[in-house]
Amino acid sequence: MGGYILKRLLSAIPVLLGITVIVFAIMTLIPGDPATAILGSYATPENVARINRELGLDKPVVQRYFIWLGNMLTGDFGTSFSLDRPVIDEVLERFNATLVLAGTSFVLCSFFGILAGVISAARQYGWADKAITFAVLLGISIPSFFLGMMMILIFAVRLQWLPVSGMYAIYGGGGLVDLISHLTMPAIALSVVATGVIARLSRSAMLEVLRQDFIRTARAKGVGERRVIWRHALRAAMVSIIPVLGIQAGFVLSGAVYIEIVFQWPGVGRMLVDAILTRDILLVQGGVVFVAACYVMFNIAVDVAQSLLDPRIRT
């Protein structure tokens, strides 16, 4: 087991390097002049030259990449000019908020998606199946940012059950209860599409498994139907559900950008959008590399979970 984890971790190194190359290439090779962007109307030739020197832009491209990579490995992602603070500090702080939001959503969509899929398969063509199928269709069709806005309108403005936006109340905020009340709507809005996708996949994975011979064996043993479905069939179906959870985690992370904007959530997605609008290249670079690296590590965790579940792929 330990060997498997180590192998997967080692295989992540080229992927992580690839990510830095791609991000660096996008940021560097595409025409555009960061110095001008930073200076705006103060872009005199002298100032531009000075900024270029400060950012190391006067050096050859390959050398710049390795300097940038080396700095990142030591935790130095540069300094955001628009915020005037180290990129890594800002990214870490914002990523924390994103993790709370996306993590909650991920748990929600995994739990309810699988639950709905299993019920749907177990009651195939029954009313529960039809209701779930319809809800899933609606869920995967509604853009999360539109859903978020409608939720604000209904639950925050009309019914006043939940706060409109933010992560904590501005006055007297803080604490778990406050966080949960702020988290409820964005987490649900963010999880809806992924829930639908997971439910759909779980349903077909379950239907596939329920036709297998070992299910018939379980029934021949006299195992009750509930246990057949929740133990025998679901356990086997998880083998094809877990990789999809990994993919959906990426979509949840992506969708978080919209949800953070809609709900004014102080996460890394909103930071990136703001950074793009202010052309804060170093902040964008650092944020993208950091989040992508975290996602790669998460996928390794998914692979490890998969191997724990399925003894056949461990060797």
Partner: protein, 628 residues
């Protein structure tokens, strides 16, 4: 193609989606022709007019612009951008995929590594990075969305291309001296084109949504021009005071995406042959029973089947898999049921405990009595309590019939705990004992193995141990040795025989091999096309088969030391059981068949211990009487 379209139209939801989309696309196409107000002319005097205001059907936005006009122009823009992004992504992605798939080797390796890297990003990060480099704007958002989707197309198309590049006609073109690019253009491209079209149609909704999303973030279309996303983005600041400005573009996005999803599902269902016949249905916990009349019980053996009928209902076709089969098993007896594949012997076995997959299986008649109680139509809970407890099964392929993800010991323990209240540790101990009793060496360790870690013979021993777990009265063994090699087969058979003698088990042994029946079974029933055609004591049937089919089946068995004898096979195939011929089902393959055989149904005539369903039997049983 026609079949595909018919299937698509028949799918009502897909048709709804198609109509929705068609309306939206038509509206977008004719937008410039419609008498709409200019979409970008502001009129601050008319800010935030509610829907149905005079002159503004959907009201106005924060700058007094007509929402209906902006909606239609925005839809047009969103559709166009999404379509363009899909086209760009498909073209570039397909080109990369074809090159990688066609040339293979190192080129393939390098390209696919790059694709994997790109796919390691959550898609929006890549899109954001590209927009960050290019700057906000609709064109740049389009490029970003297209670029993000290139890897998806590249990977899909590569897979298809690899398959085609190894086909004979490509090889032929290569030998004919055609250049690589000509082969790609003439041989490969036409074959991958349908796949590209399908991939585009399934992702275009996604691309529309992604570009709308970037616009919503303010990174796509810039004022005053608006697509649906930026309309929604601009309306967000007035969400609470004037929600209609948000609802209008939001609902339009919802309609478009839902239409595409509905249509896409329909396309997928129509293309996926597995879903065509509705084959992907789950089997119910017990086989459906639909009997009109129930015959009287016979009350002879520990297990009596009386005129059991099991059918498969697939669409309008009815397959009579088991056709009025009657069998009797005495306590401690081993009954062989033999026939070719498709003769209905396995379905007969599974029908007893309601294990025939249903749908499509239905038990339509007859009864199966266990100690005088009818198992067919028994309440599910009662049936379940007998399954594995009094009547247990051993199945053919133990790799497929054991759960792949549980240790074999756990599967045995479960078999015990389902029927007995025993603690985990005790049940585990019993599981290990069971493994020992089927002569598995080192049982403590083997109990902790997963099925894939055991050999075929060991797995089948586990299967037998599982059947023995609750000391049943009857074991139904459905071709338990078919998947095993001959030496292992012999071991398993002698194990079963010993267990039967030790424990007084009754065994119903399903097989297609008369050699196996000869070793194990006291009596044998021969099945053909869902019916019993002959039955009797094994020795008597083997020595003097009465039915021509039995005789030929016995001739199929090679005998040791008689290598020079010709091994016979029966020409032809068993008839499809949804369309049985009149009269004797074996007549078309029988060398003794007369006209009378085809005229009317042949009855199963009993004479003493034997019975045969034949007008011109090989042996005259009435002469032999019950002596055999």
């Amino acid at each position: 193609m026609m079949k595909f379209l018919v299937l698509l139209v028949r799918n009502r939801l897909a048709a709804v989606g198609g109509v929705l989309l068609l309306v939206v696309v038509l509206l977008a196409l004719v937008t410039p022709l419609l008498p709409l107000q200019p979409p970008n002319v502001t009129n601050t005097a008319d800010r935030f007019l509610a829907p149905f205001a005079p002159g503004h059907l959907l009201g106005t936005d924060h700058l007094g612009r007509d929402l209906l006009s902006r909606l239609l122009w925005g839809t047009r823009l969103s559709l166009a951008v999404g379509f363009a992004a899909a086209m760009i992504a498909a073209t570039i992605g397909a080109a990369i995929g074809i090159v990688a798939g066609y040339f293979g080797g190192r080129i393939d390796n390098v390209i696919m590594r790059g694709v994997d890297m790109l796919m390691a990003f959550p898609y929006i990060l890549l899109a954001l990075a590209i927009v960050a480099a290019l700057g906000p704007g609709l064109m740049n958002a389009l490029i970003a969305v297209a670029a993000v989707n290139v890897p998806f197309f590249a990977r899909n198309i590569r897979g298809i291309t690899v398959g085609i590049a190894n086909k004979e006609f490509v090889e032929a073109a290569r030998l004919a001296g055609m250049g690589h690019w000509r082969i790609i253009g003439i041989e490969i491209l036409p074959n991958v084109l349908p796949v590209i079209v399908i991939a585009v149609s399934t992702t275009i909704g996604w691309m529309i949504l992604e570009t709308a999303g970037l616009s919503f973030l303010g990174l796509g279309s810039q004022p005053p021009v608006a697509d649906l996303g930026s309309m929604l983005g601009e309306a967000r600041s007035a969400l609470i005071t004037n929600p209609h400005t948000s609802v209008v573009p939001g609902v339009m996005i919802l309609v478009i995406v839902m239409g595409i999803n509905l249509l896409g599902d329909g396309v997928r269902d129509a293309l996926d042959p597995r879903l065509r016949s509705g084959a992907l249905t789950r089997p119910m916990p017990a086989t459906t029973v639909a009997r009109d009349t129930v015959p009287a019980p016979r009350g002879e053996g520990v297990l009596d089947l009386t005129e059991l009928e099991t059918q498969f209902h697939v669409g309008k076709r009815i397959f009579r898999a088991v056709n009025k089969v009657s069998l009797t098993v005495a306590p401690g007896e081993c009954l062989g049921v033999i026939g070719e594949s498709g003769s209905g012997k396995s379905v007969t076995a599974l029908s007893i405990m309601g294990l025939v997959a249903s749908p499509p299986g239905v038990i339509t008649g007859g009864r199966a009595d266990y100690r005088g109680e009818d198992l067919v139509g028994m309440p599910y809970d009662k049936l379940r309590s007998l399954r594995g407890d009094r009547i247990a099964y051993i199945f053919q392929d133990p790799l497929a019939t054991l759960h792949p993800l549980y240790r074999v010991g756990e599967q045995l323990r479960e078999a015990i705990q389902v029927h007995h209240r025993v603690g985990r540790a005790e049940a585990w101990g019993r599981a290990v004992d069971l493994l020992r009793s089927v002569r598995i060496p080192n049982a403590e360790n083997r109990a902790r193995a997963y099925p894939h870690e055991l050999s075929g013979g060991m797995r089948q021993r586990v299967g037998i141990a599982m059947a023995l777990a609750n000391e049943p009265d009857i074991i139904i063994a459905d071709e338990p040795t078919t998947a095993l090699d001959v030496t292992v087969q012999a071991q398993i058979l002698s194990l079963l025989d010993d267990l039967r003698r030790e424990r007084g088990l009754a065994i119903v042994f399903i097989t297609h091999d008369f050699g196996v029946v000869g070793q194990l079974c006291e009596r044998v029933s021969v099945m053909y096309a869902g019916r019993i055609v002959e039955e009797g004591p094994t020795r008597a049937v083997l020595d003097a088969p009465a039915h021509p089919y039995t005789r030929r089946l016995i001739a199929c068995v090679p005998e040791l030391g008689q290598g020079r004898r010709r091994l016979h096979s029966i020409p032809g195939l068993p008839p499809p059981v949804d369309n049985l011929p009149d009269g004797c089902a074996f007549a078309p393959r029988c060398d003794k068949a007369q006209d009378a055989c085809r005229r009317c149904e042949v009855t199963l005539d009993t004479a003493g211990a034997r019975a045969v369903r034949c007008l011109y039997p090989e042996e005259d049983l009435s002469v032999q009487g019950g002596t055999a």
